[in-house]
Symmetry: C2
Subunit: 213 residues, 2 copies
């Protein structure tokens, strides 16, 4: 299977969400046109994206919803539950800890770390916030595979260096900073202001050229 671009992976995740909604509503088949219109792309793009992973669907009959859900979950690595640690128990950490879509897609937060002594020892559902000093040991004991970094920008690189040294290969970063990691480690940085700038671009364009949005 050849390497697939990030935008393609993003679209596959969007298709999977729509298909899961259809499956919950007991819908059996779906056309590429329907998937396209509900995910803001074209039917040709849907067919091209799905064809990367082999043959899906039958001409004129559309795609089988349950089959496509299974195949997309396999492609995206969602057949297993992932063991996740959250580093940073501040406001963003708390929001992520309660984030329903993580659990639904099989990303289970199994450890929470912070440096702040007033946070260490707090009970978050079944978990206790732990001191970051013991992080490496806990990561190993619990077989953590993915870390979510929700610490201030100035602390992020230090945390990431420790995570990488402890064998973590996947990092979701919410700190507003660029991170250096060695080859073989994947970092995704989430910047919520980027999405906001997509809005300000579109709204300003509308002001400059009415009807453009």
């Amino acid at each position: 299977m050849k390497k697939v671009s990030e935008p393609t992976i993003g679209r596959l995740s969007v298709y999977l969400r729509l298909l899961m909604e259809l499956a919950e509503a007991d819908v059996d088949t779906v056309s590429s046109e329907e998937l396209a219109s509900r995910s803001g792309t074209t039917a040709a793009q849907v067919r091209k994206d799905l064809s990367l992973f082999g043959t899906f669907g039958k001409r004129g009959l559309g795609y089988s919803v349950p089959e496509l859900v299974t195949r997309l979950r396999a492609i995206l690595g969602l057949e297993k539950a992932w063991r996740v640690a959250l580093v940073g128990a501040g406001r963003i950490g708390a929001a992520l800890f309660g984030y329903e879509n993580f659990r639904r897609q099989g990303f289970n937060i199994e450890a929470v770390f912070d440096t702040d002594p007033t946070k260490v020892g707090q009970r978050w559902n079944g978990l206790v916030v732990e001191a970051d000093a013991g992080m490496e040991r806990v990561l190993e004991e619990r077989g953590i595979e993915i870390a979510v970094v929700a610490v201030p920008a100035r602390a992020a690189q230090g945390v990431v260096d420790r995570l990488v040294a402890a064998g973590i290969r996947g990092i979701l970063n919410f700190a507003p900073t660029q991170l250096d990691v060695p080859a073989g480690v994947v970092v995704k940085t989430v910047d919520m202001a980027l999405e906001m700038e997509g809005l300000s671009y579109a709204l300003s364009r509308e002001e400059r050229e009415p009807g453009a949005a």
Copy 2:
């Protein structure tokens, strides 16, 4: 100026962040190669993206950092401060309220709404959480232009319909659901599990084909 794709706008935002860091460090010029390597793309892509908006930079001399910051801010609609309302004062709302990058880029939260009587009346920095019943009046009085929706999925469409009826044209949605809006209204849905699935894809691929990541 022709319409620009969403991935391009996203890259412009990334370039702007790097340039702002360089400007803070008093760096005067930057090459397309440097911008590319720090933003995970190619120099050719950087030049192509920037050429969409006219001529920047001088061959062999690179781009002027302050000039490029000014131009990118103008393109992205960041020359002005945007008046933003936050709907939903739960955990995600609280994280967004404190999110530094919003303020830094000129997105100012000027109102917070919730339906929960235990939240209404809470003081969040200089603001008071207000009952959603009075939302339309407050949006108009404060000249709100953008709304951030951080309510449960089942409540999101109803909130969005009210926002659209009240004249809001830009919505940043954190509810895990698809939203219908009329033409001329821009919605960006942020799903933090999408980014997580980019990680699980890369890590599973690495397990299947070592060395692929």
